[in-house]
Symmetry: C3
Subunit: 446 residues, 3 copies
């Protein structure tokens, strides 16, 4: 495989003639102790790789959730969209998104528009003579951050399922992952103006989830509801998903991946304090999901007389979105309640959207947008540094930017290529119309 790097630690030691002899001040020792810096670098980098593969795994979660919640005649298409969007995100976040989001000192417009240029990783074997070991490898950071970008795109595909054309959707994904997501993310996570204002969004209730939700909402409004979803008399017709086992699997995958999503967003694992904080985040993330699921379970029993599995799944996801803006500071009890509010939002928001005739096939707008807003505001409950005004300002600004720009892109796509399949194709299912294949060719349709 590769030339061994056995001497890595040795090289570090050379550079530290007085290692561990505390004859200087603590900070001086810390900053001039490459050996310890190297250990911290390994810890943080490895943590990013593990958190990153967990967030990657969320792409499978969205695929299964969405495949389970659409009708069987649209399953193959939904799967195609999901694997394609993950792939497009990989390419366009590399080509454009990463440096737009993390311009360092290379902002095109300071604090507002990042740098243009493809991502470049460190040389093999960290060939630099004096590598910066204070954080993590660029490769691990790129890998981790890329998966957040892909997640944002995954959110959109569910809402617009069962009637959108493949290629216009994928063009939107390119614009979302190359431009819309990275630009607004740079405002907070790239050290841009929202970060400077004190906006707090630990792992992305706003930066990731609400952005996916706003893009989905703009698309849903311009695309219109599925045929038969709302009757002329104003009634909403339930269209059950074809495979709740897959939907549940998808929810468990997302729940699992969220440990990486929130935990990795601690960004450092080079000290006992940091790893203890990551532990708090894991525990809080889990309990918020539980709170969301239980709230939806209890509420659907109380309101509708029967529990609703789909609501319970979305309740768990809404709990996860709700805790994402601040998974560290709350106590376990507070995290459970924050998640429970998220689950409650879902139970009431799903019929609310239907009353507005906004057809969101999988419930992504309640889960990611509404609970994302709630989570962003809930930061103020546990983090003394949060300002409600700043949180609201950021929610509105990011929302306006994303909704406006997404809406413009959807409109241009609608006018030029068209974004909706023909009526007959929609009725027969996108799988036969657009792919010429079925997901379950041997099973009869209901």
């Amino acid at each position: 495989m590769k030339t061994l790097e056995k001497l890595g630690l040795a090289a570090a030691i050379i550079a530290a003639p007085s290692l561990g002899i505390a004859q200087e001040t603590a900070e001086a020792v810390a900053d001039t102790t490459p050996q310890n810096a190297e250990i911290g670098f390994i810890f943080t980098t490895f943590m990013f790789l593990i958190a990153g593969f967990l967030v990657f795994w969320m792409a499978a979660g969205f695929s299964m959730l969405e495949a389970g919640l659409v009708r069987s005649k649209n399953v193959a298409m939904q799967l195609t969209k999901n694997i394609a969007l993950v792939s497009l995100a990989a390419v366009f976040y590399y080509l454009i998104g990463y440096n737009l989001m993390y311009p360092g000192d290379g902002w095109t417009i300071d604090g507002i528009l990042g740098a243009f240029g493809p991502a470049v990783l460190e040389a093999v074997g960290l060939a630099e003579t004096t590598p910066d070991l204070t954080y993590a490898s660029v490769g691990s950071d790129f890998f981790f951050q890329l998966m957040f970008c892909a997640t944002t795109a995954s959110i959109v595909s569910g809402t617009l399922a069962e009637r959108i054309k493949l290629w216009p959707f994928l063009i939107f994904v390119v614009i979302l992952t190359a431009l819309i997501y990275p630009i607004q993310a740079s405002w907070k996570w790239g050290g841009g103006f929202l970060d400077g204002m004190g906006f707090l969004d630990f792992a992305g209730s706003t930066v990731v989830h609400s952005v996916g939700g706003w893009a989905a909402l703009a698309g849903a409004l311009i695309l219109g509801p599925r045929i038969g979803k709302y009757t002329a008399a104003g009634r909403t017709v339930p269209i059950p998903g074809s495979n709740l086992a897959l939907a549940t699997l998808g929810t468990f995958i997302l729940w699992l991946g969220w440990f990486g999503f929130n935990g990795g967003s601690q960004l450092y694992m080079d000290s006992a304090a940091n790893v203890a904080d990551i532990s708090r985040i894991f525990a809080n993330t889990n309990t918020a999901a539980a709170g969301g699921a239980l709230a939806a379970l209890a509420l659907t029993q109380l309101v509708y007389g029967k529990p609703d599995l789909t609501m319970v799944l979305n309740g768990a996801l809404a709990g996860l979105v709700s805790i994402t803006a601040e998974p560290l500071m709350p106590s376990l009890g507070a995290a459970t309640l924050i998640g429970a509010v998220g689950g409650t939002i879902v139970v009431f928001a799903v019929p609310f959207l239907d009353r507005l005739k906004i057809d969101d096939v999988v419930g992504a707008i309640p889960v990611h947008l509404f609970a994302g807003i709630w989570g962003t505001l809930a930061v103020c409950l546990s983090n003394g540094e949060a300002s409600l005004g700043t949180q609201l300002y950021a929610i509105v600004l990011v929302g306006g930017f994303t909704f406006g720009l997404s809406g413009a892109v959807w409109l241009v796509l609608k006018i030029t290529l068209g974004i909706r399949v023909g009526e007959e194709d929609e009725i027969n299912g996108l799988d036969m119309a657009e792919l010429g294949m079925e997901a379950y060719p041997e099973f009869s349709k209901g």
Copy 2:
């Protein structure tokens, strides 16, 4: 995200003026070297987080296994029960279970009944002036241990599938995860009287698996078999699962999660010796599963003339349960054989339970209870510190406690709320009766 903790290692260095200068005895150096302690703390904590998410993932495994082994008319209900029980475990283990199980010095009745009070994690950023770095963060320990509690509840849901009511089942889950599991677990893992007697159960063949199995057995006896499972003439009617692909997926998920279940139970990863032991555990856990699967494969071919996939899946799981009480000491060969005995037990125990008219829908009692007993006894084969008498004593005591208490709870639930759905509802399927929805609404039923 959060204030950087770059100085974590630096702080440790200050406290260690003589780091690495071995002018004292080894133990003294070890105990007074915060720098190394901090590195060990990070390793062990991170290991708990990874092992913990693997054990969390087992909840998805149980869900898929059970969803695959019930008939399609009961799939949505089985999924609902599984996601609900994971959520309830999260809340009630936090509120009550954790401190009952790990009372430290705060036993209510010394060695028998732990402490009452909700779990409290360390402060953010380990704000303590002199944090204890000899083990791992409380948050990671809580996260890891919670998942074992949830596993115990998952075991019960499979046995009782296809005829139990949702809410009484969930009430039982609350009592199991808040009281029954933590109290008996404290006897061994909380440092209680069974631990003092020298009872050995590394990762829970008894403490987790047999407890789940006893609770399931008590429930199965009180609930009775499914309609049509046993004819008046005494014949057993096979009721095949609806989706063996999901059942196989669930088995693979459980197999994967078990690396965390057993590996994490080493409890420390702060030394070469510990990480090498965790490696042994991973290898032994894998080969025990293989032994169990192969034994079931060969035996079903020999006994029935055809291999039986469901038995192979349960054989692998029984292999895993069998090695759980002692995954460290056996050689690879011994671990394979220990697992193979587990697989053998399943092949014979499943028809044995049917002869007793105990209807265990997914085979959880053979897998978790019978193989759990075998695994607990098998500790004596490889661990010289084990006493057969003590192992038997603990098996009987934990079994009696769990079976008795569970039986009492099931009886009370039966008398008060009723635990079984009506006959018509059972025949039509729990999904329509209790949820008003189907897992696969578009696919025809057999």
Copy 3:
């Protein structure tokens, strides 16, 4: 659980009286610093365990992919084969394969045939007085390498699906995992003659994937195509898979597992340079999969007028296989293109095999053999140490050895036991014929 090993680091410190005092040359310090060696040992060992469980998880990926791509009447059989082959690999790689592959100084024929004897792990607690801490624990290495062996066998099962008998297939798996795979793998990874010649294959485009592909090809030729696949008039009849949701899930699982497959093959994580290289590998592996998927998506749209989900899935997998021989050296852009070539190969190779009437049910030969050859050659594009001649030589030699030996085994099995089910059994499905059970008993067949 086990006796604490708190003193692990302490013991290391005793052995390092001059730790960190760089009064000697760097290398001397490195080699005589057990404390740092121990930290590196923990890092690398833990990395192997995590990478190993990810590669284990690929077994679930192959199972789901293959279960999704066969017809429902053969699903239970395909699942049985997959769980059985993983189990057999565990046992026979332990009994024979591991020491054949890694003979150390114990070659039976130097550089060509390794050592015979079962794998033996380190003693519990690393009881050696002076353990070698320069690499990783034997247990972690065994665990990681075993999973590569299992992967090789998984590749074969897909090609031969829907008509091969269970037991002859499993006998082949034993020979493959005990002998064929380990012997040829020893030539490169065991330090044998191909390694001496400078053959480069970082994670196994040739050593794993093409070997699985060659064994599958030999089997497919001797087994013959499925009934009805090729008409007398020479037309190829498409036989769609029964569950594309499962096939997509399987692809995502494989994609996830591949991070461990390629990343772990760095073999060391004891320095900043190594973990940064592992990061590069993760990022390159991901983008190569994306490139393969997008190439297949675009090409099927262009060539056939409609995108083909199955091709997109196989395109992603071919991208992964293509980058496997050299996932470290390429830039992100080059890795994307290397993967895209892999995806392109799949789109053209699948119909090419059909023209040759070689019936490869899941497309494993294009994905693992053809893209494996491409990936092995592509090493020359980014690694200056690669020689095209040596790469070609190794491809041909390993291919000839594997294809020849596999073919001989398949022939002997055909003559003795027979390898193909009867015509009626094939038409009715292997599930009822060989297992007497169905994967989806309640769903009607197409």
